[in-house]
């Protein structure tokens, strides 16, 4: 039990550092997720009616997620240098597949009869997309965003290896001083706050889902 008390003491003593790193981590994840969502939904919408383009888009996203995280984090360093940029690019490339896949699935699962009636009511292609297809596909898209956010938050802990921001710094510090006093507390801090952040974001997204899902499909 004393271990746990020590840990709370450790976190309490360094609260401003912990808070700062959590904030940086959160900002990195949020920026990545916003860009990833916009990009994936846009691509998903663009390729939804063409089997070849669809397979190419999913194929490329599949290759990206296959490439190991550390490789993706470091491979752009020669071009963009260390810090925020390589971390942002790597996480972005990683975050695309779940959202893209769900966008395509969600849009394709919309009942053709519903689209037919929308057309009968005089909606043109764009209106059908915005007022019928996307709202009906939204719960599926959001599920993709949630998976993607969980993965991104976890992986963002590695960003510190390329001098990026976030909670990974506590893990890295703890590892460097492994065996010395307070090293374990540091590692636990990085790990636990990363998980807490991921679960908090997931909760926020599920709440957003409840408020933004159209009544009919809830």
């Amino acid at each position: 039990m004393s271990g746990i008390t020590n840990w709370f003491e450790y976190v309490g003593d360094r609260w401003s550092d912990v808070w700062g790193a959590s904030w940086d981590h959160l900002m990195l994840v949020i920026q990545v997720m916003i860009v990833a969502t916009v990009l994936s939904v846009a691509v998903g919408v663009a390729v939804r009616n063409n089997a070849t383009l669809r397979n190419i888009a999913l194929g490329v996203a599949g290759i990206l997620i296959t490439i190991p995280s550390l490789a993706l984090f470091t491979i752009f360093i020669p071009i963009v240098g260390l810090g925020f940029k390589p971390a942002f690019i790597a996480l972005l490339l990683y975050a695309i597949l779940p959202i893209l896949r769900n966008t395509i699935t969600g849009l394709r699962e919309v009942d053709p009869n519903v689209l037919e009636s929308a057309r009968g009511m005089g909606l043109n292609g764009t209106q059908r997309l915005i007022r019928v297809q996307l709202p009906l596909a939204w719960p599926v898209i959001l599920a993709g965003i949630r998976v993607s956010t969980l993965i991104t938050t976890g992986f963002a802990a590695i960003a510190t290896l390329v001098a990026g921001p976030g909670l990974g710094i506590f893990i890295k510090d703890g590892l460097r001083r492994l065996g010395l006093p307070l090293s374990m507390e540091s590692v636990w801090t990085g790990t636990i706050f990363t998980i807490l952040l991921a679960l908090a974001l997931d909760l926020v997204l599920s709440t957003i889902g409840r408020f933004t899902t159209s009544r009919g499909v809830r």
């Binding site: 194929g59 290759i63 296959t66 490439i67 190991p68 995280s69 550390l70 490789a71 993706l72 470091t74 491979i75 360093i77 020669p78 998976v147 969980l150 993965i151 938050t153 976890g154 992986f155 963002a156 802990a157 590695i158 290896l161 390329v162 909670l167 990974g168 893990i171 703890g174 590892l175 492994l178 065996g179 090293s183 374990m184 590692v187 636990w188 990085g190 790990t191 990363t194 998980i195 991921a198 679960l199 997931d202």
Partner: protein
């Protein structure tokens, strides 16, 4: 039809991948071989002393952790979808989903502090990390088997166990194989972090590059890990095609 021929039909992607990987590998070798290197870079990029042993170690780490993941996750997935333990399935899936948020980096270091910085620690950490997705795949795969097909088998006089072995498992094979592929891909990626706790692997080269601030070294390590991951994924995809039951 011979498995080889069966593969050829309609699988252009499977044919193209190895060619692309091979070309990228050759380009990388030419680029690295022809580059002007200073002493530290030349020693970090030595093939027989550094890169080759690291590559081998990387593959060993991947294979062992994948082996343990399969040994644990597939039987566990089968157990959790049996009627008697079914009530556990929901909670386990929830945990498996949230488990994706665990930072691999943290898990690795925590285990290293507990079990020491060895090869086995790395394997254990990667196994834990990859179990959840494979378990989820197995459970979803078994769950997705049409219940009326099982009923039909039972009606034909099959015992529960017989229905599991000759109906449920074969029908769930594609999903379980997808889980194997997932485990392999995750583990190749995780193995790149093994260097953090002295487990070796190609992460060493990436790390030397970062430490020495030699971009070519970092890039070589990253590119080799990426190519290895794509190769492993390709082999798994081929296996998926070959092992899938004919009827599906």
């Amino acid at each position: 039809m011979a498995p080889g021929l069966r593969l050829l039909r309609g699988n252009v992607g499977l044919m193209v991948a190895p060619v692309v990987i091979a070309i990228a590998g050759v380009l990388l070798a030419v680029r690295v071989g022809g580059a002007e290197k200073d002493f530290s870079e030349a020693s970090a990029l030595q093939w027989s002393e550094r890169l080759w042993p690291q590559l081998r170690r990387h593959i060993e780490l991947t294979m062992w952790s994948t082996f343990w993941v399969l040994i644990i996750a597939i039987p566990l997935g089968i157990l959790l979808t049996r009627p008697r333990l079914k009530f556990l399935a929901g909670p386990v899936l929830t945990v498996a989903n949230s488990g994706q948020a665990i930072p691999a980096y943290g898990l690795l270091v925590l285990l290293a502090a507990w079990l020491g910085t060895t090869f086995s620690t790395a394997v254990i950490a990667f196994t834990i990390f990859a179990i959840l997705p494979v378990l989820r795949n197995t459970m979803v795969g078994l769950d997705q088997v049409d219940k009326s097909v099982i009923e039909a088998g039972r009606g034909m006089g099959m015992s529960r166990r017989r229905a599991l072995v000759s109906i449920e498992l074969p029908l769930a094979v594609p999903v379980i194989l997808a889980g194997v592929r997932t485990a392999l891909v995750i583990n190749v990626g995780m193995a790149a972090l093994a260097f953090l706790i002295g487990g070796g692997g190609l992460g060493e080269t990436i790390n030397s590059g970062l430490k020495l601030q030699r971009d070519l070294t970092t890039f070589t390590g990253a590119a080799m890990v990426a190519l290895l991951a794509l190769t492993v994924d390709w082999i798994a995809a081929v296996a998926e095609r070959v092992l899938r039951p004919r009827g599906l």
